[in-house]
Structures are given as structure tokens and as C-alpha cells.
């Protein structure tokens, strides 16, 4: 049995990029520990993704299918995963640091009497022990952490590690595991799903994000930003101030009480740069700030700054991308 495990999170049969980034980390840890990678697929229907997991680096894929597992629910997923872990006794369990992933990590840690290291930005093996560097205090400080017991549970920050290239020639074993589950033991019911990202690039996975603050002036002020985002194939983001003002829904909010993002490029339009917003920009490679106020704090963290009216600069930027054939949409 392999001793590094990865939970294959899926949503409506699709596996998000963060899971494969996590798989890349798992492969590296397994090689360092001289062991293999076991991926765990939990779901309601036939898992075509098992083969994909092998191509991405898994040696064994454990597949657990049950009608009670169709939608993600904390209780049955945790029951299945902890059952498998107690049987298989992995040394390390890696999970993508998503909402579901962090729930499962915490439940699993409590269930197994161990601990989870959340949002790892760096993971290494030293003297046979897994060490994770994770941000604390909204990324103002880092902690070097490890788990004293086994298994060590580590959740991996999205976009902090590269996604491995699939190798269709890789060989692995797909192992179907049957588990007795009493559906009545799990009284939570999923009633409905409200899709909010259809046709949009998700803030968590985006390579480029265009963000808007008070400077956009009102709900309609986001229109040129949307145009630019479309041209860049970027996601749209916003500050808390404009979400509170009702100009744009909460799902776009970036910052302390919103989403934390790590794109390659963040284009901040009419954003002053309050610390609560900046704390959501962890690991952004390049920040471009467009703001009329040359004293705006955003320029202190920006690589490039334009002190001008965003309603002139943003459309000009969209037009320039189109003119050069760089526009995606």
C-alpha cells in the first residue's frame, strides 16, 4: 500500500485544477519517502476520472461509489474517508485547500486524533517528516509546521504548486472498494444547487483577475472592467466597499472577509488598497494599479501604476489587447 494519499475532490464529475496541483506535491513527497501515491475517489457514479488520476501521478486509485455519496456532504464523505484511512494507515493525506477540502481535513483530524496543516505554500520531507510552510495572520506571517502523529493531514493552497503534465502511458491500479453505508445515518440533505460560476472563470483558478473598487462609481461602472476581463480571459473581483454598497454580488469579493486569490496578474481599478483587500492578494505575481489618486496605498504594492481616470485607461487597454490580437474574447 502506498503511504501518500490524495483526496480527488470533484464537482459534478469534474476535478478542479487544485486537485492535480496537490497530486504533483503527493508524487514528490512519495518519491522522497520511498513510497507510492494512492488517490481516493468518492462519488455517486462511475468514475471515469480514475484513469486520469493515474496519468497525473497516482499508483493506486481507490474508487468508492454509493448513491449516498452523489453530492458532497460532510458526514458520509468523512465516514468513508476515515474508514479507508483506518484500514490503509497512510502516513500523509493531502487535500486541496478548498471549502470542502478544509472541512474534510478538520473532520478527519478530529476523527483520527491527529492534526491538519492548512493552506500549505511549501511542503518538504525532512528526516522522514512532512514539513509545511503555511500563512497565518492573513499572510502577514508564515509558520513552519508539522504533525507529531500519523497520518499528517496537509491541505494545499491553490495555484501555489504547478499542475503536473499528464502521462497517458503511466500504469496504475484501479481498486473498487465497497462500503456498507446506511443512508439513514446521514440526515443532512442537499436540496438544491445554485450555480454561480457558469460561463465565468472562477476567482480561485484565474490566471488574471480584474478588480474594481469605489473608483468605478456604481454598478454600471463595472462594465468596462467586465469587457477587459473578457478580453483577458480573466475573472472579475471587487472590494468589500463595493459589495457592501450593493454594486456587485458577494461572490466577487476579494480580501479579508471574501476570497483569497493568487493570480499571475491582478489589475486593480479604482481600488485604494485597504489592508483588508490586500490580505486577499496572497502570492499575486504582478499587480497593476489604475487610480486617480497618486497617494493611494495600492501603489505601494503595485509593480505598475497608472495615475489616471480608469474610464479612459481600462477601455484603452481592452482596445490595445484586441488591436494586437491578444484578446481571448
Amino acid at each position: 500500500m502506498s503511504h501518500v494519499w490524495v483526496w480527488l475532490e470533484q464537482f459534478q464529475g469534474k476535478i478542479p485544477s487544485i486537485v492535480w496541483e496537490t497530486m504533483g506535491v503527493a508524487r514528490r513527497l512519495a518519491d522522497a519517502l520511498g513510497t507510492g501515491v494512492t488517490a481516493v475517489w468518492i462519488g455517486g457514479t462511475i468514475a471515469d476520472q480514475a484513469g486520469e488520476a493515474i496519468a497525473m501521478g497516482a499508483d493506486v486509485v481507490q474508487v468508492i461509489e454509493h448513491p449516498a455519496l452523489a453530492d458532497f456532504r460532510f458526514e458520509p464523505y468523512l465516514t468513508v474517508l476515515s474508514h479507508l484511512v483506518k484500514e490503509g494507515a497512510p502516513q500523509v493525506i493531502l487535500i486541496g485547500s478548498t471549502a470542502r477540502g478544509r472541512e474534510l481535513a478538520g473532520g478527519l483530524a478530529a476523527e483520527l486524533g491527529t492534526a491538519a496543516l492548512v493552506d500549505a505554500l511549501e511542503v518538504s520531507v525532512e528526516d522522514g517528516r512532512v514539513i509545511a510552510i503555511r500563512p497565518i495572520y492573513e499572510g502577514k506571517l508564515f509558520a513552519r509546521t508539522y504533525v507529531e502523529r500519523s497520518p499528517a493531514i496537509v491541505t494545499i493552497r491553490g495555484r501555489a504548486f504547478p499542475k503536473p503534465d499528464p502521462d497517458p502511458g503511466r500504469k496504475g491500479e484501479i481498486r473498487r472498494v465497497s462500503i456498507e453505508l446506511d443512508p439513514l445515518a446521514f440526515p443532512t440533505e442537499v436540496l438544491e444547487w445554485i450555480q454561480e460560476t457558469e460561463g465565468e472563470i472562477s476567482l480561485n483558478e484565474a490566471r488574471i483577475v480584474v478588480g474594481g473598487g469605489r473608483g468605478v462609481g456604481g454598478p454600471e461602472g463595472f462594465e468596462p472592467l467586465r469587457e477587459l476581463a473578457r478580453a483577458l480571459g480573466a475573472a472579475l473581483g471587487a472590494t468589500r466597499a463595493v459589495v457592501d454598497a450593493g454594486w456587485i454580488p458577494y461572490k466577487y469579493q476579494v480580501g479579508q472577509t471574501g476570497k483569497t486569490i493568487s493570480p499571475d496578474l491582478y489589475i486593480a481599478c479604482g481600488i485604494s488598497g485597504a489592508i483588508q483587500h490586500l490580505s486577499g492578494l496572497r502570492g499575486v505575481k504582478v499587480i497593476v494599479a489604475i487610480n486617480k489618486d497618486p497617494e493611494a496605498p495600492i501603489f505601494k504594492v503595485a509593480r505598475y501604476g497608472v495615475v489616471d481616470d480608469l474610464f479612459k485607461i481600462v477601455p484603452a487597454l481592452t482596445a490595445e489587447l484586441r488591436r494586437r490580437g491578444l484578446a481571448k474574447g
Binding site: 473532520g107 500563512p135 495572520y137 508564515f142 509558520a143 504533525v147 505598475y304
Partner: protein
């Protein structure tokens, strides 16, 4: 309805943090606040109390000085407050914190709902809500963006959970453990509330009061270790201001830079 809100006292999020050679974290003279995520849970619990009746008990694990955070919650409208304090609690990780909170919640007797922030702004781990739900054996409804309905007679709750791709609408039986996203505008303390909080004597529960053995709590019971805390390497960002005769020229120069940075 009896709602319990576990909160945490944290440094103000605008504080500048430093770490000394021994690894001690300091926030200078910046104030300590109620973890902003917990304020959403307090506000939502107060609204439930206003709608359905009942009471809200706020609890925290921390030093004597964490009573200030409890008083803030009472000033907002919470009915009772309890401090969980024992030198033996020091160094507890998320799982062990959940053990301590669970013991306190059980000691409180009949509880319908535990409602807390989705994470703390210092630990940033979001591990206490799931660990606490597991410890209590109650359903977990994490990342709640909206409470759709509560049926106190039928003892069920329906919430919208905010996940990466959208909102999952879930029904669960009560009692349950909820964690809050930014789901409301937390109220300010009222004048009457501040007076009540100032006069209130807050009970302190120790490990013995909770029926916990010393080996069940604190650093020795915790599996997580964080021996080194450090300030991340300072990224020297020098802002290059792009100037031009026209928006078109600025756009052209900016696109040149971004292509060179390989971020387009």
C-alpha cells in the same frame, strides 16, 4: 432557541506584526478585537433570537483579557458569556480547542445551534468548526452565506453554503454546528448593552469544571506543531508609473511591460 457562539479574540487586522528571536508574535499597541468572522455569527444569532426567542451564549477560550471580547459580544446583545481559561489550555491546536469547546457546550445543557465564524483572522485554518461538529456528533454546515429557514418545532434548518462553484442548499436536523461567511452587517454595541457588559461578572470554567483531564488539553495533547514563525521575505516592489500622452499610449506601454513579465 439556545444558540452558543464560540468566538476568538484576535489582534486588529490592520496591526503590524513582528516576531522576536524567541518566536513571540507581537502586535505593538494595536487593539485586540473580536475575530471579524465571528461578528457575522454573533449578528446572525441575535437576529435568530429576535425572530424565534431564546438566548445567545457567547464563549471563548483564552486568557483573562479575552473577557473584553466577550463583553463586546454582550454589548451587541448576547445574553450570557463564559470564559474557558486554564493555564493547561495553552498551546491547544484546532482539534484540542474543539475538545474544550465541545465540553463547554455539553455543560451548557440544551443547545440548538452552535454558530461561529468560518475561520479566525490569526490562525486562518477553518479547522475548529469541522472538528467541533465531529466531536459533538452534530451535523456541520460550514461556510453559511444565508439561513433560509428554521423550523423550531420540526427541529430542522435550511442554509445556503458558499462553495467555490456556487451555493449548496442543505437541510439538516438540529442541533447543528454552523460557520459564517460575510452574511450580514454586524451591529454596533448599544448603550444599554455596554452598561450590561460593564456590570456583568463573567464565569470562568477550567479544565476541571469541564471534566477534562490535563492530558486531554494543551500543547501536549495537540498533534500540530509550529516551532518556527517568521515574517515572509519582503518582496521589494517598486512601482513603475506608466505615463503617456494619451490613454492609448499608456495602454500600449502597459501591454509591452505585461508581455515582458509573461503574465498575459
Amino acid at each position: 432557541m439556545h444558540i452558543v457562539v464560540p468566538i476568538k479574540q484576535t489582534p486588529d487586522t490592520t496591526a503590524t506584526l513582528t516576531v522576536d528571536a524567541s518566536g513571540r508574535i507581537s502586535w505593538g499597541d494595536a487593539p485586540l478585537i473580536v475575530n471579524p468572522w465571528d461578528e457575522f455569527a454573533i449578528e446572525e444569532s441575535l437576529r435568530l433570537k429576535e425572530k424565534f426567542g431564546g438566548r445567545v451564549t457567547v464563549i471563548t477560550m483564552g486568557p483573562e483579557s479575552a473577557k473584553e471580547a466577550l463583553k463586546q459580544a454582550v454589548a451587541m446583545g448576547c445574553d450570557e458569556a463564559i470564559l474557558l481559561h486554564d493555564p493547561a489550555f495553552e498551546g491547544s491546536d484546532a482539534v484540542v480547542t474543539a475538545v474544550i469547546l465541545a465540553a463547554a457546550i455539553r455543560k451548557l445543557g440544551a443547545v440548538d445551534l452552535v454558530f461561529m465564524g468560518k475561520e479566525s483572522v490569526d490562525g486562518n485554518s477553518a479547522q475548529v468548526p469541522p472538528a467541533l461538529a465531529r466531536r459533538l456528533g452534530w451535523p456541520l454546515l460550514a461556510y453559511v452565506g444565508k439561513i433560509r429557514e428554521i423550523d423550531p418545532a420540526g427541529r430542522t434548518i435550511v442554509v445556503e453554503r458558499i462553495l467555490e462553484e456556487g451555493r449548496q442548499v442543505v437541510r439538516a436536523p438540529l442541533p447543528a454546528v454552523l460557520s459564517a461567511m460575510q452574511m450580514n452587517e454586524p451591529r454596533y454595541p448599544s448603550f444599554m448593552g455596554i452598561r450590561k457588559a460593564a456590570r456583568m461578572s463573567i464565569p470562568v470554567w477550567t479544565a476541571a469544571d469541564l471534566g477534562l483531564a490535563l492530558e486531554q488539553v494543551g500543547a501536549s495533547a495537540s498533534a500540530a506543531r509550529w516551532p518556527v514563525v517568521f515574517a515572509p521575505p519582503k518582496q521589494e516592489v517598486r512601482c513603475e508609473f506608466i505615463q503617456g500622452e494619451s490613454p492609448e499610449e499608456i495602454a500600449r506601454l502597459l501591454v509591452d511591460r505585461l508581455l515582458a513579465e509573461k503574465v498575459l
